[in-house]
Amino acid sequence: MHNNVTGGKMLKKYIRIYRECIKISISTALTYRLNFLLDNFIMLVSNTIFPLVTLLIYGSGAEFPNWSLYEVLLVQAAFTMSTGIADILFNGVLWATMRHIIEGSLEIVLIKPVDCLFLLTASTVDFSGAGLFLGGAVLFAVALSHVGPVSILMALQFLILFISGVFVMMGISFIMVATSFKWVGNSRLPEIFDSIKYFGRYPQNIFHKSISGFTSFIIPVAMIGYFPAAALLGEADSIAFIAILPCFLFAMAGVLLFKYMIRLYEGVGG
């Protein structure tokens, strides 16, 4: 009983902190609104690069076997939206932590009476990724309007798989942060994981089975774009649903690795 009350209070406290951090992030964005709008606009325009290769492939009369243009765009739109959400919610953690490690100022975060990873995540919420999400959403709407009708069950399946994909993004983000405790100041860390995520941008049946097994169950990047889109196309098979578990395990692995690696941090007072 006592534990439940304490747990409830703790949860309330964390929700309040997260809410305050979001308010601060919005206030910051409004203070530098021109920069914020420009960042979002550039994000939106950069987004056009992503489906460009697919558009040019189909424009030249070629195709991915058994995939129409709009079906591939649906995969890429889901991937873009997920990236947009990750940019807003988790991707700022790496740069903030890296800065703290280089400057030796992580103590400022560590001495606070909240979980370090939670505080780092909450305080780096950044709405400049909203442009990317919106760009993905527009692409998603266009692609969806060109594929077959979507039932409520398919939409529900999409939602579950899409959320699982966001958890993969979270896991990737936290693994990168954990790595930055050992590989100090390496700004190319995201490139490593971006290259692995690249597999998730395309229909998985174009890859060798060993690769699609890796992208479904080991580092489940197929869940970021491919599986959610497959659900909307009525092609989500049992593998898609089995792959949900590795997504949550992967996110958990990211959190645990962070908790382990933070012990490597050495500072002398910030």
């Binding site: 460009l52 070629a62 100041g185």
Partner: protein, 278 residues
């Protein structure tokens, strides 16, 4: 007499290049594992490209005049050329202007662009050892990609010109900081355009004919597409085919014009620049 002066002048310049390049090489050697990230990233991207294009070419012998083997060579070559020509003179110059540190360079008896060129040579020699060569071995011996240039001589000249072109373009973009101070937005827009129109994403012959015609008059193709096509041994864009010596000649003219434009903007920049202390 004039010949001797010229030799002295060149010897002095070479001495500066050697000194700055060596220091830059040593400085960045401390972070060589950062460069070595490419040994993982380059092949992984290549594997994705391999499966994408193998799927796209299924049942097709050629697309836009390119066979699958040429397409894979194209992506292998553009990746490797990227390691040799990579440049961040724009970021560096903007940082120097914004922080006021450019003043220390303005006072030195050496043109800052020449200094940036010397730094880039040192930095890319590091890239040669820790990015280019390991990835070359992986592409050739593991992926079995044919990376033998059609003509070694023209390929080397074209890559050298791409090296200079990338520097001049980036440096010119960096100089916008003399007017804007915080020019990261301009830089991002430029990098976006360069990403699309240089041919790094996809060979330019895949673009619609109108855009291909436009690209003939833009400098971006000389950074990646032209050296890659020179490497493969045939150049076509917007229906215009050219023998290799002609396109390399055109690339040299484009580099010279960009260098002149860069110098013009540099002189305008120096009229605007004011610095105190630093």
């Amino acid at each position: 007499m004039v010949g001797a002066e010229m030799i002295n002048y060149l010897a002095k310049k070479l001495k500066v290049i050697k000194a700055v390049a060596l220091v830059t090489y040593k400085e960045w050697s401390a972070y060589r594992t950062h460069s070595m990230v490419s040994i993982f990233v380059g092949p992984v991207y290549f594997i994705v490209q391999y499966f994408i294009w193998s799927a796209v070419y299924s049942g097709k012998a050629s697309l836009n005049g390119m066979e699958l083997s040429q397409m894979l060579t194209y992506f292998g070559v553009t990746t490797l050329i990227g390691y040799l020509t990579m440049d961040f003179a724009d970021w560096n110059l903007q940082m120097l202007v914004r922080t006021g540190k450019f003043l220390t360079f303005a006072l030195r008896p050496i043109h800052h662009r020449f200094f940036a060129l010397s730094q880039k040579i040192g930095h890319r020699i590091l890239g040669l050892f820790f990015e280019f060569l390991p990835c070359l071995f992986i592409f050739v011996f593991i992926f079995k990609i044919n990376l033998r240039p059609a003509s070694y001589g023209w390929a080397i000249i074209s890559v050298a010109l791409a090296f200079l072109m990338n520097l001049y373009l980036n440096y010119t973009i960096g100089m916008t900081a003399f007017w804007l101070v915080q020019a990261s937005g301009v830089r991002r827009v430029y990098l976006l355009l360069q990403g699309i129109f240089s041919g790094g994403l996809i060979p330019l012959v895949f673009f619609p004919p109108l855009i291909q015609k436009l690209m003939l008059f833009l400098p971006f193709q000389y950074v990646s597409y032209v050296p890659a096509m020179v490497f493969i041994g045939r150049y076509t864009l917007a229906g215009v085919s050219m023998p290799i010596p002609h396109i390399v000649g055109l690339q040299a003219i484009a580099v010279a014009l960009t260098a002149l434009f860069s110098e013009y903007v540099y002189r305008l920049s120096m009229k605007r620049f004011t610095g105190v202390g630093a």
